[in-house]
Symmetry: D2
Subunit: 366 residues, 4 copies
């Protein structure tokens, strides 16, 4: 099991390499009767496209999606939805050189160690293009959640040392700025910082935050499949993520119980919380508050300054990576985090439908 | 699927509530021929026992394990190993009161929201006692890994504001101090800090770090089942964990590529790295360096100071929690993190055995 | 994965050997709120007990079940239900001899081939006692299905050459005759036939049929997880089953389409079928008619006449098996087939709850 | 989980409808380093093509396969292999009529009952064309097994009342006759019988038998994932199969133990069996003898004679099905049974690689 399948009921299987013929995903377990067309998916794919600003690679990728199955007369049929994105603008020539050595910070060495050889063109399966399948499937999951009254929204929380001020959240800016920050002032500072990185032939890390709103209390399973455990896997499985936080995240380890506990309050029978240090999850189950998670992305490993490494003949060499690379992964990863979150939440909502005997009796009219 | 099963080939299923008759685990997929006796498991369980120092609850729990199946004449048979731990010293009376309201920071409210009611005695399934099954199974996984030359070691990295100095790592201290810190000086400071917390009727969070040594390069699957993704799920599924870091973790988001990349070096054909910012994982696959992860635990939610909350009749009330509770979860959670890590690593090693056609041909003698 | 887990949402994990300390099962994913006590389960276990007639082994097995978790104040909590049955009356002495050779028709040789050695006492994990976990879990699944208006009923269809006359079906006879046939005349003939087998130191095979009533149309998944495919696995996984039939079963291969097709008929908007050659499944999905399956059991391999085999030193020898063995497996297997069917049907019903977008919207009140 | 995924380590996910844009499969977990090209797969797909004889529909289907991922420089990379077959010659017009009613013996009614509507064109997902993905994946599994010394061979055992004489097995005939029988005399009789069926506007059922040779003893898991249980699911999941037999199959229910047991014999340390009533499986684990299974296929439900059924308005009507249909499913299903068997056997062989502690130690060089 090479682990290209994710989810239990809403189950996706992604495939494809950076410079192969195509990439895609099969979504199995999508409920029947959902209106779905290629535009619903293309809108999401466009959010991860490069070449859209001064801080992403000028590399152009069409990435237009084709629905091959599972949709009939504009509606999902309940059978697998196969989505295809042809690779069009990949220039393998750019990459032929790296066949001979291991790029620092990349998976070249580990793929060789595991499989004995690798498709070295653009990183093959370990390329950022692998996320196309995740995003295409995530677009469908997000659409279903929306019909259920649940919205998933990710944005850039910080880039290098510059963080967005979330106290005056500018939602529109997420979709219109190059950094996808909900704060135009921070966006300007971050853009300047990234240009500086580029001049230094360097790259930067950053943080993506994701918020789920409208999620009812009671979603998630109590032990190994805790909602936050599955979200951590979902988000950590995105290339370049090295840390995942839920709610207050790393701050909890230096906090005291009196600071960290969220007080419950009742307002005519409806229970809510005064604060949300928990980030919307208690004991692995949603508590009705906004669900908040953060993913820490490492800097793009492909930098143009000189680096030490090893070639396949086992010699120590110095390299300067060529090609077209983003100085930061984060802005294009925002929609990937949003997608993985949507996939995880939807699957948990489906699994929750059979957790009480009354649910079964009502469904089967007894 | 209430998600009480973990793993693909080495698969465990845990069960049991804090104040039920017993807790346990079934390990399915354990290889045949391993020498195994109850002591192998008891040693691990003893590491999570309370009542062993001034900074854990005086509550006594015998927690002695019984092997019910899967072992014959001192060796595992390859069939499921069922492990049982009877609940002996639980006093339900201590808990009857909390049946009526939702403890802040606990899963009382979310369990009611999900299931319609809950076993309120000591938190039921959401109690820390749920980890008994994880640790019993982890002891077996760790023993197998050891025979494969792979060691897993967790320890307390920090408690509240006090961190261990890992530069002069005192392994012995992990097993002999109350805090499980590999640094006796930090242990003394942390113990003082915790006593202060207790006087303030408060509790503290902390960090557990885990290191895997001897892990060959090539372990882990490249997309959704990345080694670090599965480890994140494994560790985040432990109650009270709110953040997981791999290698440099949260630091990567403010780092530059030139700082974060690890240079490869060759020493007569064997490839290694000059640094280990990656924490031993590149592209979701082990890179041959030590694997490093950190889990951030929130403070024990059961604190004795007055708190606001809601009762089951939907009224706002003030409560003061009674009973016997640890001022910190971390020291007893060290072996739980170690166990979840061992389970994840072993399963990944098993899955890796069929990843090349030559492996199959060699195994089946062709 | 030693494959001791069955089901996707309603998931069971069985464990235990014939002569180990105990056998049991963990049921994960049982909906919360079901009234459940040990008697609900014991009634099923009693149906597979030996020593109840002249045609079963005089061996006595108490097989009394203990609920260890997942039930609180008489109701299931939604967390794993652990069921334990202690082995009390096993005499290992009876079996010590067979440690040295491979019994024809048994799994002795294949276990050694797989694992390198085996727990030879009473067949260890391959003993009929392994079904205790299946039946204990099946009792719970059947109880849930009953609350949903679905009943599962298995009975002996034939023993050796003697078949029950199903045209005048005597339900009461299933539970009161030694053969579990719904036909007292056939029961008498079959009993005589079995006594003859015993005199000849021989054993007999037979057929168990199972009928599911009240199952709505639409249950089952269309491709690999067809309802009849999952039922085939469920039933074929019972030791000694060598063939599974759905509806007309083996007869379809010699039939013509005009004979085999079931005509649909409408009676004010409700659709039914004039005949039921399909056995209630079309395209892997229930069609609203009674679901019918048959399992063919081989004769008990333990016979007392002289047999040729091989010992562990690789020598050809002749053996005469001692001990206490049933001349037929079927009567005690009836409840096992019923249990495996109930587990499969319930799991399919749970998976069906998220197959339409409207189901999700209604459940989440949108 | 719409159940379009099969296998644990060697995992396939199929998708596509009869008259959609395309059909395909994603194979995840294929070992790296296998030589693979489109011809390896096309050879298998050609075996299920129609229009190749007087007894299959004149309908032409190109069904040419494209490898989209997972193969680099002629070798598998270990990452998912995506295979695509475009639908070219489907005439939806032929099917528009059947949108309005439920064809007897087809899944039209059950799909509507499950999903609320269906892609009625050529049966959509329930069409025989769904098997294209199974066969494409099966071709790869069979190639890997061959390199391991294991061969899988299916053939037509009988058609209606005519059975092949297996005592003088003509392997060549399987690939050169229209019926795929290993007996040219039976092929001639069966062809005549089928022409008679066609004249009567009727169709016929038949039996496919599959034999696995070179399978070592010890493959398969002992309880729910018995080798024969997984094979039963694999084969019963093929549309139109209503019964599965292993070894002597249905005959065992009327046999006696003295007839059914296979005696073991030793020939300098190598153990074999004198007979093979078990069909190569004992206790769910391969016993080293040839593995034998049979699948009983119902007659093609699409017959041209008048039939009674119901239309979507709930009225009783009479219909005469038009279009181009095979008078029998069996000859084209032979390669499907072979493929599902190969997929199941390979996955079981992979799972078997971690069943002993020594296997892990040897693999990891300890």
């Amino acid at each position: 099991m090479a682990g290209s399948t994710f989810g239990t009921i809403f189950k996706i299987t992604t495939w494809g390499e950076s410079h192969g013929k195509a990439l895609g995903v099969v979504i199995d377990g999508c409920p029947a009767g959902l209106s779905l067309c290629e535009d619903d998916i293309q809108i999401y794919l466009n959010r991860r496209k490069p070449g859209q600003s001064s801080i992403t690679t000028p590399r152009k990728e069409a990435d237009s999606v084709e629905i091959l199955s599972g949709v009939f007369e504009g509606k999902t049929t309940g059978t697998p939805i196969s989505l295809l994105v042809r690779n069009t603008s990949q220039k393998s020539s750019d990459y032929s050189e790296i066949a001979s050595y291991y790029r620092p910070g990349h998976a070249d060495y580990t793929f060789d160690a595991k499989y004995g050889f690798r498709d070295y063109r653009g990183g093959g399966r370990s390329s950022g293009r692998e996320t196309i399948g995740r995003v295409a499937a995530g677009a469908i999951a997000a659409k279903i959640l929306k019909e259920m009254g649940i919205t998933v929204m990710a944005y850039t929380h910080s880039i290098g040392p510059i963080s967005a001020d979330l106290s005056n959240f500018d939602k529109d800016a997420i979709f219109t700025t190059a950094t996808c920050m909900p704060d135009r002032l921070a966006d300007a500072k971050a853009t300047a910082y990234l240009q500086e990185c580029m001049q230094q032939k360097d790259s930067s890390g950053g943080i993506v935050e994701c918020m789920v709103q409208g999620l009812p209390a009671g979603i998630g399973e109590p032990v190994f499949d805790k909602l936050d455990a599955n979200l951590s896997k979902a988000v950590m499985s995105i290339g370049a993520v090295k840390a995942v936080e839920i709610g207050d995240g790393v701050l909890v380890s230096s906090a005291k119980g009196s600071e960290n506990n969220d007080a419950f309050v009742a307002d005519n029978q409806s229970v809510s919380k005064k604060t949300n240090h928990s980030g919307g999850v208690l004991g692995g189950i949603s508590d009705g508050a906004d669900l908040i998670l953060r993913a820490h992305f490492k800097p793009t490993p492909s930098i143009f300054s000189k680096q030490e490494t090893v070639n396949k003949s086992g010699e120590n060499i110095e390299v300067e990576i060529k090609g077209r690379h983003d100085p930061i992964i984060v802005p294009r990863a925002v929609v990937v985090v949003e997608s993985m979150t949507a996939l995880t939440i939807l699957d948990a909502c489906m699994l929750n439908m059979s957790t009480r005997i009354d649910y079964l009796k009502n469904f089967y009219h007894k």
